[in-house]
């Protein structure tokens, strides 16, 4: 790839051991949460990772920021191998990549004032004195639409949307290049969601930020992402430019996922043909052989049970992992 990539994942894997079988001296089962995932994030753009619960999208986000250690594979951030970074180097790395979490209440210390929480990354880095830190925090608060006068208030005095603004301010404190946002708006009401999405977009323009946007809401993703990667049971099944993937999805799972989104327009929803998938997502402990989607796929053939379909480029960066793409 010749594009200017700020963040790259190469054959990332994360297996979690599971079960109490250690006592029985059996090899433990493993959950293949992320299995052989590769992608690139272009500088200044937004890549959305979408999928249903258990598809591994949040695990992927944590791997990218190295909040957890990968089982295999590498993450390259602006030319630096994140996965090889030693603890001391990690501190410097955190200046480059930050995370915004789903639940803004759970990620703010209830005993710290909002100002203290936003300033935490600065204190950990030890790059500013107290006065400068306070000034910087006030600046950040204004930037994300919080009243700097509220520096000494506590998280419970803020609404969900305001707390998420604080979470974003904290992520911006060190002026990172990349922000991994894990379901940043899914806990918020629709009218507030739009405020936060608008904020994220204007911050991206002002600071040239690159986003990895993890979400299950396909309508939100349609709006914010330049590129999208659809995950199913730990693997990327389709990825490409957002307009292309939404306009002409080729993987049967992507097609079903898009058709399942309820349209907020009675005319559109009666017009549309819905593909209702049968059954549930299988367990990631024992994923189906061959193609992992085949047990729910309306097009599955014998081949799908035997051979795992590779992620193949179909046209200009539109990658699909299916033996029989549409």
């Amino acid at each position: 790839m010749t594009a200017d990539l700020i963040l790259e994942a190469r054959q990332l894997r994360k297996y979690f051991p599971t079960g109490a079988s250690k006592m029985l001296q059996r090899p433990t089962d493993v959950v293949q949460a992320v299995d052989d995932v590769s992608f690139g994030l272009r500088r200044g753009s937004t890549l959305a990772v979408v999928g249903e619960s258990g598809c591994g999208k949040s695990t992927l986000g944590r791997l990218l920021a190295r909040l957890i250690e990968p089982t295999a594979g590498t993450v390259i951030l602006d030319g630096v191998d994140v996965t090889a970074a030693r603890p001391k180097e990690l501190l410097a790395l955190r200046r480059e990549i930050q995370v915004v979490f789903q639940d803004p209440y759970a990620c703010l210390n209830p005993r710290h004032s909002i100002g203290q929480s936003i300033g935490t990354p600065i204190r950990i880095q030890g790059t500013m004195n107290k006065t400068d830190e306070k000034a910087r925090v006030r600046e950040l608060m204004a930037l994300v639409g919080l009243n700097p006068e509220h520096y000494n208030r506590f998280p419970h005095e803020f609404s969900g949307g305001q707390r998420q603004r604080a979470g974003i301010a904290r992520a911006l404190a060190l002026q990172p290049k990349v922000i991994v946002a894990d379901e940043p708006v899914s806990a918020l009401d629709v009218s507030i969601q739009s405020q936060i999405l608008n904020l994220m977009e204007s911050l991206q323009q002002d600071f040239g930020l690159s986003y990895v946007f993890i979400a299950h809401d396909l309508a939100v993703v349609r709006h914010i992402a330049d590129e999208v990667a659809v995950m199913y049971l730990g693997k990327i099944v389709e990825t490409g430019d957002t307009n292309t993937v939404y306009g002409s999805p080729r993987h049967p799972y992507t097609r079903a996922l898009l058709s399942a989104v309820p349209e907020p327009d009675p005319k559109a929803s009666s017009r549309r043909q819905r593909i209702v998938l049968q059954g549930d997502v299988p367990s990631p402990v024992n994923p189906p052989s061959g193609c992992r989607f085949r047990t729910r796929c309306p097009k599955a053939q014998d081949l799908c049970a035997q051979v795992e379909p590779p992620l193949v480029d179909h046209s200009g960066g539109h990658l699909v992992a299916c033996h029989f793409p549409d």
């Binding site: 629709v190 009218s191 969601q193 739009s194 608008n198 992402a225 330049d226 349209e263 907020p264 929803s269």
Partner: protein
Amino acid sequence: MTDANTIGSPLLSVRDLQVTFGTREGDVRAVQGVSFDVRAGETVGIVGESGSGKSVTANSLMRLNFGADVKITGQVLLEGRDILAMSEEEVRSIRGRDVAMIFQDPLTALNPFYTVGSQIAEAYEIHHPGTPKKQLREIALDSLAKVGIPEPKKRIDQYPHEFSGGMRQRIVIAIALVNSPKLLIADEPTTALDVTVQAQILELIAAMQSEHGSAVILITHDLGVVAEITRRVMVMYAGKVVESASVDDVFATPTHPYTVGLLRSVKSLETQRHSRLEAIPGTPPSLINLPKGCPFHPRCAHAASLGGRCNADEPALQQIGRSETRCHLDAQTLARLGEVRA
């Protein structure tokens, strides 16, 4: 029922429902004067954001608002009988038989210590005491098959934790429908589920409704879900119904400024990438310290144009075309609010 009193009258009639919770910080006025009718077999949606009072309204219909400091006034007439005036015993005879409920989280709605079969059987037996064990099992098996649980003969003796989220919600639906209730209240029935499973459950609720002929009240924050399966919709804000209309009218010509804002904030698969999203400024008000006048006025773009009326008087319901709207703006302006939307 076909006696003279009920012919042509609605199945459910809610009149001036008010629910207040006493807390240390003050009275939380969760529902303030909600009135609506539901006819037999009809599907009505109640939409609103968190704190709008939609779930409290739903719970009041079955008198499920517990706690020492709850004050409920008004009437909830089910076929002419006021549920709020009934004895606890009478209410119990209605719960699960005439009115049943589906909750958001199917795992907490099921008892982890009993098999799903026994929980379905229990729901039937309570209202049909003395039913033989064998027949109860048949009924449970039949219910499981109807809601699309594969291998019901094997699954009937399993416990809730052995099922996925979608399957559990199917079981909750089986329990709710085992007595063929006249009214089914579904409170965010698909919010905890993935979209592909949500599509399955919405399809199931619609199919079950046409089979049993139950009326359905669907409570949700998701306008997409409302558009999918309801005919009529009420929009709630800060404990009040601010707009009530048919689904088609609400989406085509919304008449309340809040509804218009809500529809503009909704992201659809057809929105353009990177277009700036319309957002409603500010946040919903505290239900302890409600603003004077119209509760939406601090966030409303039209409030300034009405010279202080919005923060002084509470607006009454106006009839605008086929919609009812609680707003001070004049009828002509309200009828045109939706046009600006496109």
